[in-house]
Symmetry: C2
Subunit: 199 residues, 2 copies
């Protein structure tokens, strides 16, 4: 039964829980990331069930109120500086706490890939890279550069990670928005894989 090894219940029951947790638009995105994660996993020799579940769950905590994350930061004794950031950082980095508590997921590789899906990390596993990239290129995504990202993802996960991170940083500077330091660490670790003709 799909995902039962990780959940103790099956995918159909999980979908019911997801429908109760997030909007239908967000669920459609999560389902698309599930599919793209499975496809990339098969292409790159990664466990596709694990990748599919991580992709499906990656935005589970995206609609949680801020107070949920602020409480997690206190309860888990995390760096208080995290409170200066917002949902965009929290739903990824801290999403695993919500997912573990509410869905019973304990697999650390899955939880880590979800923690890293927004800001990445300097040394990502293949699974981490797959969820990070799938979130950016899934078929319903439509923004300048997404086609380049899709082409790069077919050639190398590292180049796709680099491109996605570079574009994200450039976008944030154009908007004058703060950049989480781990995003820079991701960029610096993967920028050597950025094709010079990607832009």
């Amino acid at each position: 039964m799909t995902y039962e090894a990780y959940l103790g219940y099956d995918r159909a029951q999980l979908l019911e829980k997801l429908q109760a947790k997030v909007s239908s638009k967000r669920l459609a995105h999560m389902l698309a990331v599930e599919e793209t994660s499975k496809r990339l996993a098969r292409q790159y020799g990664v466990d596709s069930e694990k990748a599919g579940l991580a992709g499906l769950l990656h935005d589970y905590a995206k609609e949680c109120p801020d107070q949920v994350f602020l409480d997690i930061i206190d309860r888990e004794g995390l760096d208080q500086d995290l409170k200066n950031w917002g949902n965009n950082v929290w739903h990824g980095l801290l999403g695993g706490y919500v997912i573990a508590a509410e869905l019973g997921v304990t697999d650390q590789e899955i939880l880590t890939s979800i923690a890293r899906h927004t800001v990445g990390a300097a040394g990502m596993s293949q699974l981490d890279k797959i969820v990070y990239v799938a979130d950016y290129i899934e078929p319903t995504r439509n923004f300048p550069g997404v086609e380049v990202a899709r082409l790069l993802a077919d050639q190398s996960l590292e180049s796709a990670v680099a491109y996605e991170t570079a574009k994200t940083i450039a976008y944030l500077t154009q908007k004058g928005l703060p950049i989480y330091p781990e995003t820079l660490a991701t960029y610096n670790a993967y920028c050597p894989y950025l094709p010079t003709d990607a832009y």
Copy 2:
């Protein structure tokens, strides 16, 4: 006598030393940063002699061989990670060691503003901001965005720091080049001052 309080000798003698140290093209840029730093200092109520000297000296170490900086890192017991960067970071962060040793400058505010002229810092003094911005907007500079930076510098040093740092980061991501973490700290500290219509 101009600069004698900081040097023990005067500006004419300093210019002879600079001519022997850097190319004529670089010296022209350093002289332009001297002038712009003095102008900004008068505008923002900062000691214009101090700003002029910091501006004039900011690139003093730019043509030093890499080994000079690698030796400084070892001799001063600095973070070995600095060795992974290059002249662009070193000539600023470590330039003060060369300037102190070869020119006899001991004023810490001047040396700090030179140390910060390339990567900035989260909490820059007015002098630091002036040298950082003057380096970007001096009259011989000619690149997309320099006119916006000049306009912003007339309105607020903080907005000019933010704009310059945002543009630098965006440029580096387009080239796939690594970004020094202190540059990100500068951006995150000053991005709230970035006018939303600056681009």
